[in-house]
Amino acid sequence: MAEIEPLKNNERDLTKVEFSQVDQPGSVGLFGHLKGFWVTFSTIFKKPETVEYPEVKAPTQERFHGRHQLNRHPDGLEKCIGCELCAWACPADAIYVEGADNTEENRMSPGERYGKVYQINYLRCVFCGLCIEACPTRALTMTNEYELADDSRAKLIFEKDDLLGPLRAGMLLPPHPMYPDMTDTNYYNGDVKQAHPSQDVNK
C-alpha cells in the first residue's frame, strides 16, 4: 500500500476537492411497481395486527417496565425499609423517600426502619429499572401496567398508598407486630409464609 501523505489544513484547496460519484437509481420499470404493490395487496389477506386500544388491551412482554409496586411480606408487613437506595440509583431523580423508626406500637416492616414517605414522580421516571436493581429487599418491583397518563402534574406523583401492592390471602394490614419468634432475617429468608393469628391486633 502506498503511503498517503495527510494534507495539512492550510494546504487544502477546497476548489480542488473531488466528490465521489453516487449511484443514482434509474427508472424502476413496470416490474418494480408491481413488486411494490404486491406487498400492499397481499396484506389484505393477512390477520390485522391493529389492537383496538383502549377497548382491547394487549398483554405486554413479561418483563415490560411498567408502574412500580411496593411489595409486602407474606404476613402483610411492608418490605420497604426506607433505605433510599432506589432514590440514590435513580438517574432521573424521580423517587423521594423518607425513612422512620419502627416502634412496638407502629410496626410497618420487620427490622428497625420503614419507608414513611415514598413518592415516585412519573413525570420524571424513565422506567430504566435501576431502582429495582438497587432495592436490597425486593420491596420495589415493576408491574406491567403502562397506563400512566393523567390530566395534572400532581396526579402523576404517586404516593406510597398508590404504589403498595394489594393485601393477598394470609396478609394483614400493617401496622402489626412481627411473626412470633421470627427475626427480620427470617423474613428475608422466606421463613414467614403467612400471618400468625397473634399478629392480628384488631381481634
Binding site: I81, G82, C83, E84, L85, A87, W88, E98, G99, A100, D101, G111, E112, R113, P136, T137
Partner: protein, 783 residues
C-alpha cells in the same frame, strides 16, 4: 505564628517520595503530606494514638533493617533513614490491609441499607478501596441487641462497632467525661456505659460524628436522610460566644442536622451538644409568618407589610423611643439597631444586655473589652487561667475544652472564684477560691498573676458590685490579659457595633465629641445625640415613669432580667414594635409585630468572645423572611431617614470602614464591693448560673437533648446541711419575697452562706420564681 519555633525536621521516604516532617510526626501523617491516603479507623489527629483497628498497616524499613511484619503507621513516629511502603507499593502491606478488613467485616452486620452512616461511612469506603470483594467467612455473625440508648440522644449499635476506641478516647481525653468505655474481652468486646451513670456528657455528640462506622448514631437524625439528600452549608453556631464553626445540613428547606466544622484556632473539630442538637426552634410550628398590628380594640390582627411598617414608623416617631435588643443578634443586625437608634430615633438609649447587668459592667466593657484581642491562643499559652463569674463548661463549652486540653497537656493552672465548686472546675483540678456570693471582689485582689495569665470574666461578674473593678485593677497591676465571655453569641458583636448607651460603633465613647463627629460623618448625619444612653433597667423605668413612650424590641426575653415585673409593665405601657421569630412575652404586648428571619434563613456574622468574626451564609435558600437589618432599613425609610443598610454586605462594608478608635478611652470609676450580709439560721445567699441544657428558648422542642440535662438540685454545704438536718435528696424550699422553688437537696462543696440552684431549669426558674439570681438573701426550709 509570631514566635519562630525551632523544630527538628526528619526526612523519610514513603512510596519512593521524600518528605520532611517535624520530629515526632506519625508515619500516617507524613504520608498525608504527600497525598498518600493510608486507610484507617482509630486514628484521629486530635486523639492520642492507640493502634486499635490495625487497618493502617504498612511495610517499614529503617536504615536497611526491615520490620519483620507490617506495622501500624498511626502509632509509629518517623525516624531518620526510614523507608515506608504503603499498600500502593508493597504487596505485603496491601495483603495485610485486606486481611484486617476481612476480619473487621466478619462480625459487621450487612445492614448498610438501614444504617444512618450509609453513604458517608469510612468502613464502606475503605471496604471498597482496600478490602476483598468477597468474604470467606461462613459462620454465624456475632449479634447484640440493637440499638441501645446510651443516653437520650445517642444510640449504640454494638454489632457495627469496629472497636476503634475513638469515642472512649474522645470522652476521656477531650471532654474528660469518661462515662463510656470498652467492656469485655475478645470477640465479645463492646462499648458500654456504667450501669448507674448514663452518658450525660455535654460533648457526647462529637462521639457520633467521629465514629467511623454507624455504631453511634444520634437519636434526632435517626433515619431522617441520606448524605445525598442533604445540602450542606458552612455556618456558625448561634448558641454561645465560643464561636464554633459548624456545618448545617438541610433537606428540602428543613435543617436535619448540624455538625461541628473544622477550625483549628477556635473549636478544632468539636462542638457541644447544644450547638449540635438544638435547631428545631427554627422550624417550630409557632413561627410568626405575617406582620401584625394591634387594632383599636386592643387585638392583634394580621396586616400587610406597608401597613405594619407605617404603623411602626408612626409609633416610634410619636414619642421618645428606646431600643432593646437581645444578645442573639448578628453583628450586622446589631449595627443596624445601633445606627437606627442614633439617626432615626435620635437617642443613645439602646442596650443589648437583656439580662442581669450593671452600670459597672457597661463601663468595664467600654474600657477593657471593646476592641480587645485576647484569643484562644492566649489560653493555649497562659501560665494561669482565672475564672471570674464564669463557668466554662456550662456557659462556653469550647473554652472549657481548650482549657482542658492545656490542663491535660501541661497541667495548666486554673483558679475559679465563686461560691460553688462546679463539675467543670473539678475536672480541671482547678483551685477553687470559695467566697460568699457578693464577696468575689475581695478574693480577686491578691491573685499572683503574670503578663502571661488570662482572666476570663463571665457575664455573671456584673452581678456582684465591685468584681469588675477588682478585675480591672488586677489586670492593670499584673498586666494579665482579660477576656469577657458572655453566654450569648451576639453580645460581643453588639458591643462592637455600639448597641449600648455609652458607646458608638467601633468602641467610640459617646461622651467624646470627636468620636461623635467621626461616626456622624460616616453616617452623613448632621449630629449625633450627646447624652449617654440609658441602660436596660433604666429604659424600663423611664417608660414606667412616662419619660419614654415607645420601644423597639428585637429578640428580648423580658423575664431574663432581675425586675421582670417592671419590664412587663413597661412593655404593657409603651408603644412596642417587636421584631421576633416566634410569639413571646414581648409580642403578646406589642403594638406592631414584624416577623424576622431566623439564623438559618439569613447570612451575617457573629463576633465570638475573642472578637473574631464568624461568618455564615443562609442555610435555607429562598426564605421569605427578612433579616432585622432589612426591616430596620424599611422602618427608617418610612420615618424619612435613610439607613443605607439594604443588605448584610452593605452593613459589613460600612462596619469595616469604621476602623479602630485611637482616641482616648473612657475611664472606669472603681466601685467598692458590697457589704456582707448577716444571716439568720435558715437564711442563705442565693447563687446560680444557667446550665448548658435548660429551658432556653433556642432549645424548645428538643426532647432528646433535654434528656441529658444535669439534674436540678439545690446545693448547700455539709455544715449548713447538718444544722438544718438535711441529707441528699431531701426536698428544699428556697423562698424569697416574690415566691419559692422546691428542689431536691445536694450536699456539696459550697460556701457555708450560699445556696445554689440552676437559674433556668425545669422547676427552677429563679428570675421568674424568686426574682433573684445571685447575691440575694433567701430562706431555705426542709419540707
Amino acid at each position: 505564628m509570631t514566635t519562630a519555633e525551632i523544630v527538628d525536621m526528619i526526612t523519610v521516604v514513603i512510596d519512593g517520595f521524600e518528605v520532611s516532617v517535624p520530629k515526632g510526626t506519625l508515619v500516617i501523617r507524613a504520608a498525608e503530606q504527600l497525598g498518600i491516603q493510608i486507610p484507617r479507623f482509630c486514628d484521629h489527629p486530635l486523639l492520642d494514638p492507640v493502634g486499635a483497628c490495625r487497618q493502617c498497616l504498612v511495610d517499614i524499613e529503617i536504615n536497611g533493617r526491615a520490620f519483620p511484619k507490617p506495622q501500624a503507621s498511626c502509632t509509629i513516629p518517623v525516624e531518620p533513614g526510614m523507608i515506608v511502603k504503603t499498600q500502593l507499593t508493597s504487596p505485603v502491606a496491601d495483603k495485610a490491609q485486606q486481611g484486617v478488613m476481612e476480619l473487621l467485616l466478619i462480625n459487621h452486620p450487612l445492614d448498610c441499607p438501614v444504617c444512618d452512616k450509609g453513604g458517608e461511612c469510612p468502613l464502606q469506603n475503605q471496604a471498597l478501596s482496600s478490602g476483598h470483594s468477597e468474604s470467606r467467612f461462613q459462620g454465624v455473625k456475632r449479634t447484640f441487641e440493637k440499638p441501645i440508648n446510651i443516653s437520650s440522644q445517642v444510640l449504640l449499635d454494638r454489632e457495627r462497632c469496629v472497636l476503634c476506641a475513638r469515642c472512649t478516647r474522645f470522652s476521656e481525653q477531650i471532654a474528660s467525661d469518661p462515662f463510656i468505655t470498652l467492656n469485655e474481652r475478645g470477640a465479645l468486646q463492646q462499648v458500654g456505659i456504667y450501669e448507674k451513670q448514663p452518658f450525660t456528657s455535654y460533648f457526647s455528640g462529637n462521639t457520633v460524628q467521629i465514629c467511623p462506622v454507624g455504631a453511634l448514631t444520634g437519636a434526632s437524625y435517626r433515619f431522617r436522610a441520606r448524605p445525598f439528600d442533604l445540602v450542606s452549608t458552612p455556618s456558625a453556631c448561634e448558641h454561645c460566644a465560643s464561636g464554633c464553626d459548624m456545618r448545617t445540613d438541610v433537606r428540602r428547606g428543613k435543617t436535619l442536622r448540624r455538625l461541628a466544622g473544622e477550625d483549628a484556632s477556635v473549636n478544632e473539630e468539636w462542638n457541644c451538644d447544644k450547638g449540635r442538637w438544638a435547631f428545631k426552634y427554627v422550624t417550630a410550628v409557632d413561627r410568626l409568618a405575617h406582620p401584625q398590628i394591634r387594632n383599636s380594640d386592643g387585638e392583634l390582627v394580621q396586616a400587610s407589610w406597608p401597613e405594619a411598617l407605617a404603623a411602626a414608623a408612626q409609633g416610634l416617631k410619636a414619642s421618645a423611643s428606646a431600643v432593646l435588643i437581645g444578645g442573639r443578634t448578628t453583628h450586622e443586625d446589631a449595627y443596624g439597631y445601633s445606627k437606627f437608634a442614633r439617626i432615626a430615633l435620635n437617642t443613645n438609649d439602646i442596650d443589648f444586655r437583656s439580662r442581669v447587668s450593671s452600670d459597672e459592667e457597661r463601663e468595664f466593657l467600654a474600657t477593657h473589652i471593646v476592641g480587645s484581642t485576647t484569643t484562644y491562643l492566649d489560653i493555649d499559652r497562659a501560665d494561669h487561667v482565672v475564672l471570674v463569674g464564669f463557668e466554662p463548661e456550662e456557659e462556653s463549652p469550647i473554652v472549657f475544652l481548650r482549657i482542658n486540653k492545656q490542663f491535660r497537656k501541661r497541667a495548666l493552672k486554673v483558679t475559679s472564684i465563686g461560691s460553688k465548686l462546679s463539675i467543670g472546675v473539678e475536672k480541671l483540678k482547678g483551685e477553687f477560691v470559695k467566697v460568699a456570693p457578693g464577696e468575689e471582689a475581695t478574693a480577686i485582689a491578691g491573685l499572683p498573676l503574670t503578663a502571661k495569665s488570662v482572666i476570663l470574666v463571665g457575664e455573671r461578674a456584673s452581678e456582684s458590685a465591685g468584681v469588675l473593678s477588682a478585675v480591672a485593677a488586677l489586670a492593670s497591676s499584673t498586666s494579665a490579659k482579660v477576656a469577657w465571655i458572655p453566654r450569648r453569641a451576639g453580645e460581643r458583636g453588639a458591643l462592637e457595633a455600639g448597641a449600648i448607651g455609652n458607646l458608638l460603633p467601633g468602641g467610640r465613647p459617646v461622651s467624646d465629641a470627636s468620636a461623635r463627629v467621626d461616626i456622624a460623618a460616616l453616617w452623613n448625619a448632621p449630629s449625633l445625640p450627646t447624652t449617654v444612653g440609658r441602660s436596660n433597667d433604666e429604659i424600663y423605668a423611664a417608660v414606667n415613669s412616662g419619660d419614654l413612650g415607645a420601644l423597639l424590641v428585637g429578640g428580648v426575653d423580658p423575664l431574663d432580667g432581675l425586675n421582670s415585673t417592671a419590664a412587663l409593665a413597661a412593655l404593657d405601657k409603651a408603644f412596642v414594635v417587636s421584631l421576633e421569630i416566634a410569639p413571646s412575652e414581648v409580642t403578646q404586648r406589642a403594638n406592631v409585630i414584624l416577623p424576622v428571619a431566623a439564623i438559618t434563613e439569613k447570612s451575617g456574622s457573629f463576633l465570638n468572645w475573642e472578637g473574631r468574626a464568624r461568618k455564615f451564609d443562609a442555610a435555607v435558600d429562598n426564605s421569605l423572611n427578612r433579616s432585622d437589618l432589612r426591616i430596620l432599613s424599611m422602618i427608617a425609610q418610612e420615618m424619612g431617614v435613610s439607613l443605607n443598610l439594604g443588605t448584610v454586605t452593605a452593613a459589613a462594608k460600612e462596619i469595616a470602614s469604621i476602623g479602630t478608635w485611637d482616641g482616648a478611652r473612657a475611664t472606669m470609676k472603681p466601685i467598692k464591693s458590697g457589704k456582707t450580709e448577716s444571716l439568720k439560721d435558715n437564711e442563705f445567699i442565693l447563687t446560680s448560673w444557667r446550665r448548658l441544657l435548660d429551658l432556653g428558648t433556642l432549645q424548645k422542642g428538643e426532647d432528646n437533648l433535654a434528656g441529658t440535662a444535669r439534674q436540678c438540685v439545690a446545693v448547700i454545704s455539709p455544715k449548713r446541711a447538718a444544722s438544718l438536718g438535711v441529707v441528699d435528696g431531701d426536698q428544699l424550699k428556697i423562698s424569697s419575697a416574690l415566691g419559692a422553688v422546691t428542689l431536691p437537696a445536694l450536699v456539696e462543696d459550697i460556701h457555708d452562706d450560699a445556696v445554689w440552684a440552676p437559674r433556668n431549669s425545669r422547676g427552677s426558674q429563679l428570675l421568674v420564681n424568686l426574682g433573684a439570681a445571685h447575691g440575694a438573701v433567701v430562706t431555705v426550709v426542709k419540707i
